[in-house]
Assembly symmetry: C2
Homo-oligomer: 339 residues x 2
DNA sequence: CTGAAAGCGCTTACAG
DNA sequence: CTGAAAGCGCTTACAG
């Protein structure tokens, strides 16, 4: 009978230890600490239990709780990458709200390039209560079956709960800002990424320029990175009648546009205006500082988690949209012609 | 007797279902799927079990496994922030290795500013097997008691397992590069962060400049951010005999140094050389591109996790050091005087 | 080679 | 108001 040697000695107190310390039964401890005691346990007993738990430094065993309840109190945050500056804050916001409700967050980079697991007890999505999916295609969630999910910055057309950004409004604000400065020939350096958020940006910009008397829109696409963006911007600037302003799908692409301008000896903003999108840290590190649309990334994570918790609680949360804000800095000015 | 209504119907097959499907006992299923069957279960039976599991789409219940084994297969990754560009890749590397061994990674931002939890079943560090702590003080681990931990880019003097960067060598490489270009008056724009990695950088630079005939080192400190760094750099450049090169503790600080130079009408690199540290994405977004030391962040996360897994397996892993690599780009050149 | 059984630490219907 | 007991789904010593 060496049963006790089977399980590594964790020395952590259990609810049974607390019960012994408080002189009550284990079920009473569970009731009290679970907050379901009112009307069922006397206040004096409840206090005694709490004091005993405190003395022993008792913390419930999550695994046991999860097993019993059939839940995990864990949420999967699916992001296309954690390396891009945008998604760190999303994670931070999600964790902040989750922690407040006793939930943990596991970040999962999608598409998955971590390769197959050695063990059959692998992927974190085997043991989660819900999914927070950022900038993902709706159908990518199919393989997760009926797991409650909230889509972030994604197509609101589907049936899934969503928290979005006002990307179309943001893009229109940029267009209006440039139009007011006098720009008519606009170049769109677009992300070659098949996501709703970028399609929405392109569509909003196209609509705005189409509504502008004399407005001309040209477009070039690239991967989200400085060098590809530089090339795409250079292609637009090499046209016979080049744009006087480059609207970029995100701040990183704008950094590439700066480089293209410099390579051609063009000054930003006197020869060329450039705008970004997102307002990540990079935007103020660049010279001149970048005119862009600020998207509240941390708030997206926080509200997304709040909506997911509502969903898990049986609610039917309404769609939320977080507005983007135009931040005018030094990278935009009147075009050379009307200066 | 409505027992079955107690637990939410997950409809997931259990090992008992697999046993029924395969016509064997539940313990046999566990043995086979746990990989401990050789010599105890006939190959034919084992195959039958595996086929049944496949047919049913069986995945073991982690909570039950954790409860039984007293482990969680979860590792906590503690980082000072996920918002800075450096730590995303560390997380990515850690997840890559962890997933391969059936471990999950929960990122935990330290110091903790998420506030207290509403529920007593809160902080993720109540249910983890090990800790990966990046750029942290050794004593911050104290509250986690005996939990196995690996320190990343931290003081190797302690007793904890560590995976480090060759930060001192990296700093010496920068100093040598600048010395060779002809610089003698060096300004150090140092991070005002009490971490071993920055102390090591400062010490290495001081040593290198001290060994340089005619070498003069001045230093100014700042928070890690563009604006504070700009101010700190400006202070150094306002000295009567200003440095001809600014050595910055990381790339973000270097971005601030660029701004200070521009505000004074100084060209980088013809009037002032600037160097960074880390080689994050920002380094090539800047103009001119930044001479810096590349630290393999993703590899730090990956090797850190490998060491932690070794530790959890009962090993006594040796300290590992990942070398930094000097990357010479456009921000360094000979000082004006000897041009 | 295979199965019956104990037990990990909880939550909660049920009986007093 | 309180306790004894079942059971969540596993792993593993033990008995055949």
């Amino acid at each position: 009978m060496r049963r006790e040697a089977q399980v590594p000695a964790t020395s952590r107190p259990t609810s049974r230890d607390v019960a012994h310390e408080a002189g009550v039964s284990q079920s009473t401890v569970s009731l009290v600490l679970g907050g379901k005691w009112t009307g069922r346990v006397s206040p004096a007993t409840a206090r005694g239990v709490r004091e005993a738990a405190e003395r022993l430094g008792y913390r419930p065993n999550q695994a046991a709780r999860n097993l019993r309840l059939g839940t995990t109190r864990t949420v999967l945050l699916m992001v296309p990458t954690l390396t891009a500056p945008f998604f760190g804050p999303v994670h931070t916001g999600a964790v902040r709200v989750a922690a407040r409700h006793g939930f943990g967050v596991v970040a999962y980079v999608w598409p998955d390039d971590t390769g197959p697991a050695d063990s059959p007890f692998a992927a974190p999505h085997e043991a989660i209560d819900g999914i927070l999916a950022s900038s993902m295609a709706v159908d990518a969630l199919a393989r997760f079956g009926g797991t409650p999910a909230v889509m972030l910055d994604s197509d609101p057309a589907g049936s899934a709960a969503t928290v979005g950004f006002g990307v179309a409004d943001g893009m229109r604000a940029i267009a209006a800002h440039l139009a007011e400065l006098g720009h008519r020939r606009i170049g769109h350096v677009a992300a070659a990424v098949d996501q709703w958020t970028f399609r929405a940006r392109a569509q909003a910009l196209a609509g705005a320029v189409a509504g502008l008397p004399g407005g001309v829109l040209s477009r070039s696409t690239c991967a989200i990175g400085v060098t590809p963006a530089k090339d795409a911007a250079a292609r637009l600037l090499a046209q016979p009648d080049p744009p006087t302003a480059l609207v970029c799908d995100d701040d990183l692409i704008a950094a590439g546009a700066y480089k293209a301008a410099r390579a051609l000896g063009l000054d930003v903003p006197s020869d060329l205006s450039v705008t970004g999108f997102d307002d990540v840290l990079l935007a103020t590190a660049l010279e001149p500082e970048l005119t862009t649309v600020r998207l509240p990334a941390e708030e997206l994570g926080a509200q997304g988690m709040a909506v997911l918790l509502e969903l898990l609680g049986g609610g039917r949360p309404a769609r939320r949209v977080l507005p983007g804000e135009l931040v005018v800095r030094g990278s935009t000015g009147p075009p050379r012609a009307i200066r």
